[in-house]
């Protein structure tokens, strides 16, 4: 009988990994539930302002997005704040058409619940924002939300 038996005793037992898929699936489901799809590619920088009185927006399907801010690639597009609708740059004049087009895809009775979510960068001047608001009023899209990050009031 060999005194130096190879393997036995020295080699630790293999780690049981049969529960690993379960753990990973659990993580997966957590992320599936807690997150939402990123569907727009950002062309402009939108560092949101902070506000304390923010409200959660209702259903995502009832939102139109308008982005406004300095372009992310200043070397290509310059630094003047631009408006982004969907995945492309736009001008103030395009907003009416954009909203009308989006409205036409919705049910008639859903249109009045549509909210426009304005995601604008902190540094943007009010001139452009006022122009956007005027355009929205022209197409009767009167529900607007200034997207802002939640901030707790300290007092």
């Amino acid at each position: 009988m060999s005194k130096f038996k190879k393997g036995k005793g020295k080699e630790s037992a293999p780690i049981n990994t049969s529960a690993l898929p379960d753990i990973v699936f659990m993580l997966l489901f957590f992320f599936m539930v807690a997150t939402k799809m990123r569907d727009k590619e950002m062309m402009v920088k939108t560092q949101l302002p902070q506000a304390t009185e923010v409200e959660k927006l209702e259903k995502k399907s009832r939102l139109y997005y308008i982005f406004c801010g300095p372009p992310l690639k200043p070397e290509v597009y310059g630094t003047t704040p631009r408006i982004q609708l969907d995945d492309a740059f736009a001008t103030v004049d395009d907003i009416q058409q954009f909203i009308t087009l989006q409205n036409s895809k919705k049910d008639e009775d859903e249109v009045k619940y549509m909210t426009t979510s304005l995601k604008a960068d902190k540094t943007v001047k009010m001139g452009i924002i006022t122009d956007i608001k005027q355009e929205l009023r022209k197409v009767n899209a009167l529900k607007l939300s200034y997207t802002a990050a939640k901030e707790l009031r300290e007092d």
Binding site: P49, L142, Y146, A148
Partner: protein, 181 residues
């Protein structure tokens, strides 16, 4: 252990973890965590009819001006943003005590006017403070009247009563562009 020839062979689940990881990574990359939040605003409808000459007495209107240098002027006096909420609350809950502020809460108006050069950040801050003032006076009234906060009221009639007591008359001036026709 004699296995029966006919039994179903055991499925190798060793790669299950790999598949799950792949899915997990996919979801991590393509999704975002943030739930959109924002300040809700109801824009006034656009009409061609010019607004009727304001018969509101000067005292009912709290004038808030923001200039292009992000300075705040409330009722012709320079104020900082953190004092705006208290000032607005005093205006709304004045009930005729101070002759320069509103006579009753139902008539009180807040008028916000900003310059085209005002920064969006400043505008949101000011708007936030004004909204906060309205929310707080409504909360306080609701607390004293029904014992719960305004946001927690369930009965339509109670909500209406608070709204009627403190109507949100936050008017924004029609934008004027100086130097253009």
């Amino acid at each position: 252990m004699a296995r029966k020839g006919r039994g179903i062979p055991e499925i190798n689940a060793g790669s299950m973890a790999d598949i799950a990881f792949l899915l997990l990574v996919f979801f991590l990359v393509t999704t975002t965590m943030d739930i959109p939040t924002g300040l809700q605003v109801a824009l006034p409808p656009l009409t061609d009819v010019p607004p009727p000459d304001s018969k509101q007495k000067q005292r009912e209107v709290l004038e808030v001006l923001v200039n292009s240098a992000d300075q705040l002027l409330v009722e012709k006096e320079i104020l900082t943003v953190d004092k705006l909420k208290d000032k607005t609350k005093r205006h709304l809950t004045n009930e005729g005590k101070d002759p320069t502020l509103s006579s009753t809460s139902t008539k009180a108006i807040v008028s916000l006017k900003n310059d085209r050069g005002t920064s969006y950040d400043m505008y949101v801050q000011v708007y936030n403070e004004l909204t906060a003032a309205y929310n707080e006076v409504r909360d306080e009234y609701s607390m004293s009247r029904f014992g719960v906060e305004y946001g927690k009221l369930r009965k339509e009639s109670e909500i209406e009563e608070v709204k009627k007591k403190y109507p949100k008359k936050l008017s924004e001036a029609e934008p004027v562009s100086i130097g253009k026709k």
